[in-house]
Amino acid sequence: MPVGAVIEFSNITKTFGNVTAVDNLSFTVEPGRVTGFLGPNGAGKTTTLRMLLGLVAPTSGTATIDGIRYRDLPRPLQTVGAALEAASFHPGRSARNHLAVYAIAAGLPSARIDAVLHTVGLGAHGAQRVGGFSLGMRQRLGLAFTLLGDPGVLVLDEPINGLDPEGIKWIRGFLRTMADEGRTVLVSSHLLSEVQQSVDDVIIIADGALVHRGTLSSLETEAAPRILVDSPDRTALEAALSQAGIEFSTGRTGLFAAAPDPALIGHIAFSAGVELSALHRERKGLEEAFLALVNGHANGNGGESR
């Protein structure tokens, strides 16, 4: 069984001319967990991943796998499997031959080719030219390439893009399995909702800078959370909240109270003798927290101090 390794970015920066694509980014990615690497399009996710993989040279700083730069890895494909956003296939080559070229380059036995094609569900399409593949099939072939060397570290750039619902379900299970086997799984996305069912940890960047890192649940509590509360007697509830000094806004399905804990709101209502018909955290909290972090940065409220 392959062993996961720690990925470490240390003060990594990339500038293209006057544009700073990645700005002094530092974070680590742990084995045995699925880490979501999130940020809006253009935030610098792909550039960061390409620096990790030795495809783009950092302007300053380092990115290492188990302390070693990608270019210095003795057996790169056996250590790190990467699927990047761009479709990197010669359309005239069959799926099997596409993998064969890189299996030869990495010194892998040809038996691995059939094994990974089978794993990603392309077992029946090995002889087909890649030019005729759908986007979903290309994504799967990209994943087959990552698995070729049975690596302990997986780096996937927007793997869910272009997948049908069945494919999305499949890849969620796939990510989970890989992490449970002890591998390091780093998966980027511009949509939190796309990966929130699969990830344990999140790294969020905006404009090339880190805005949040921690567990998925830490994201929920970090951004000012809201509690949805409602009562058959809404006027009495509003009065009770005002008296307790809780700010709230009125929504279609109830009142959104600016409080960290549903228990506090429950206590206030109970003390005031107000009957409740709903009391829970706002359901879209994660996505809104994510957007607040990303937009807060774009508005100049975030930044390196975070």
Binding site: R50, A86, G107, F145
Partner: protein, 280 residues
């Protein structure tokens, strides 16, 4: 296996798993066979009809100023066919940029200089195969036609076999020049335009123009096509010399070194300006 032999194996696999090489080889064979067959028939016809067949084999009396007929026809393999290995090398290299296969290539082997070295050697070998295919067309078809007109195809002549060997070498080097050009230009469309415009128009014009004075004639010998003809040792281009005196080419080994210099210059500059740059 060493990492270099793995890199070399991968480059051969890339060539072997697409249609490019055999499509180009097939077009090249047809083109050269047509030219060699047609012109053999024309010249051998003149030669066998106007002059006694005995004299034809020695050449110099037969086609005064044209040189001996068979080597001229046989050299079509490289003097006409060299554009095909150049295109092969160029397309094999620019295809990596166009289809973004540099990403998986450098993921599988991050030692980029080694990848380029392996690609150059793989294309050298396949370029030599192109040389053999081109010679099957020029010598195979040419000798058959020449023989049919009862002119000696000079196939027992060791000089003919030396020409054949040097043609294989020239075609192999041309293929690696294509790799260098591909790395340097990295746009597939631009490189095709450059190859076709230079080999079919610019260079022939420059070579022709250079023949008018002694100074430019010396310089013209260092043009890649002239160097290639010098390496092979025969060229129909010398027929076009103004005043009927064939241009004195470089020695064959000098021509070979000039070609190698072009290849090294393009490859080394291309490595610095594009191959080791960011892959985005």
């Amino acid at each position: 296996m060493t990492s270099f032999s793995r890199a070399l194996g991968a480059e051969f696999a890339k060539l072997g798993t697409t249609r490019l090489w055999w499509v180009l080889a097939a077009v090249m064979f047809g083109y050269i066979a047509l030219l060699a067959g047609g012109l053999s028939a024309l010249f051998a016809g003149i030669e066998s009809g106007a002059i006694s067949p005995d004299a034809a084999g020695t050449g110099s009396q037969g086609l005064a100023g044209f040189g001996s007929l068979p080597p001229l026809i046989y050299s079509f393999a490289s003097s006409v066919g060299y554009v095909f290995p150049v295109l092969l090398g160029t397309l094999a290299t620019t295809g990596e940029f166009r289809h973004q296969t540099l990403t998986p290539t450098f993921l599988a082997n991050p030692r980029r200089a080694q990848v380029l070295g392996a690609k150059t050697i793989a294309l050298f070998v396949v370029g030599a195969v192109f040389g053999v295919v081109a010679l099957l067309a020029s010598v195979g078809v040419g000798a058959l036609v020449i023989n049919a007109f009862d002119v000696d195809p000079l196939l027992a002549d060791s000089a003919t076999w030396a020409l054949i060997g040097r043609t294989v070498l020239a075609m192999a080097i041309w293929s690696t020049i294509g790799v260098g050009l591909g790395v340097l230009v990295h746009s597939q469309v631009a490189s095709i335009v450059i190859v076709l415009a230079f080999t079919q128009f610019v260079e022939p014009l420059l070579r022709f123009a250079s023949l008018f004075t002694d100074v430019t004639r010396g310089i013209g010998n260092y043009l890649p096509g002239a160097a290639s003809d010098a390496l092979v040792g025969a060229s129909f281009f010398t027929l076009a010399a103004p005043g009927g005196t064939p241009a004195a080419l470089l020695e064959w080994w000098q021509g070979g070194l000039v070609l190698l210099a072009y290849m090294l210059a393009a490859t080394v500059i291309g490595y610095a300006v594009s191959w080791k740059r960011d892959v985005t």
